[in-house]
Subunit: 225 residues, 2 copies
DNA sequence: TGCTTGCCTTGACAAATGTCAAGGTTTTTT
DNA sequence: AAAAAACCTTGACATTTGTCAAGGCAAGCA
């Protein structure tokens, strides 16, 4: 092997090794950043000790999603609670006619998952995917329950969250059974301005149970006023 | 006073006293029966001691409602969890146009109340009234929380109930954003046959967010098939 | 019993919403 | 930079649903 070519090989190897090391460092940095986001979120709500956080971190796993990548596909069992550290997910299902119906938006600092699959061990009817590039913290159901049992403050927090969530769902039902398309749209953008800016209109339509065309017209009407 | 008239007075007094005694007995019987219904319900779900039940009973109050009588009127603060021992309640609100929208049906062994008024101390937007003559067990929010703190099994049970309720609400949202009037109706009667038989059609319409006339036509269509 | 009220249905019509198809714009990907 | 994909809007038309009004039946009340 001539000298120059062996030198080239060496360079390549060095480069690869450096890349590989970089990747590892990046990977651990990512974990740190993700857990940090989750910890921030919790610190805002409850008082936990460093050991508590250690416990939670020890059973957390992480996932990075590109746009349009699935976290969960209908038909599979998904027994995780997913916390969005960064990005934006949607939870939806596809009916027999192929239409998508969005059940839930989850931006940073919100939870997602499928309660019914968690409870029943049955395959989910829902899809969850990323609208934007996202970073997700995952807690396996068993570990989540373990944390609830071990850390009473966490348990209280979860219950409070459940309760608040019930209120939100109730308001959504309220809107669904009593408002027109235009009223639902106005209600939505006033309640969730930050979501309105981040997701395409046809997804809001899907969330509201209205066709994209109707929502487009409705919004024009509303803009005029 | 002639003898015969004094005798009549005596008879009247005796009668009144007997009536009064009967009423007292009836009243306590009613309490017993109501709490018994609640206890039966709980025994079916969790294991509590007699002392636990004693604690719960000591902070329970009771209410009997005639048809159409309010348990809660919009505008007042209502900080109770209400358990239906017997009868049938509905939770609804009235919009600016005077239309009623039913949020929730509560037959025997179901809970009702207004979570948002309980949490916020604010006047409720909802009305709750009795569709049938009903007997209600009331637990003041503070006492309810006290019971949760004192009896862990009760707390777990409440959380599980909250969770199940979230599933039910989710299914309702699912139906609302994706089904036609007919599909919603079919879905409803298959999920809640016992409710369908007990409440007038226009209330089901109101629950589904559909006009009574449409539901009447839709049901005829469906019956043909 | 008779009267009132509530409930359900039906028709005619109006209004809201959905569907299909096309075109233009923006964003994403290559 | 070019190509592809996603997104939004618009028009024409179909379908669904709501509204108003009237009548009949049944249940509850006096």
């Amino acid at each position: 092997m001539p000298r120059s070519s062996s030198q080239a090989l060496n360079d390549t190897l060095n480069l690869n090794i450096r890349n590989f090391a970089d990747q590892i460092v990046n990977f651990f940095n990512l974990l740190l950043i993700m857990f940090h986001a989750f910890r921030k979120y919790l610190e805002d709500k409850i008082n936990l000790t460093d050991e508590d956080y250690g416990l939670i971190e020890s059973v957390s796993s992480f996932k990075k999603l590109r746009r349009r990548q699935y976290l969960l596909q209908a038909g599979s069992v998904f027994r995780f609670h997913a916390f969005v550290c960064k990005g934006f997910l949607r939870n939806y299902y596809v009916d027999e006619k192929g239409q998508e119906h969005i059940m839930h938006f989850a931006p940073e600092n919100y939870w997602t998952g499928d309660r019914s699959s968690i409870d029943s061990y049955l395959p989910s009817k829902y899809d969850i995917d990323a609208i934007e590039e996202s970073e997700i913290l995952l807690l396996k159901m068993e570990n989540f329950e373990m944390i609830r049992k071990t850390i009473p403050a966490f348990n209280d927090f979860v219950n409070e969250t459940l309760n608040k969530n019930a209120l939100v769902m109730q308001e959504r039902i309220h809107a669904n059974i009593s408002l027109s398309a235009e009223e639902k749209y106005v209600d939505f953008i006033s309640k969730y301005p930050s979501i309105s800016n981040r997701v395409p209109l046809h997804m809001i339509a899907s969330y509201l149970g209205v066709s994209a065309e109707t929502l487009s017209r409705v919004r024009r009407q509303f803009a005029k006023k």
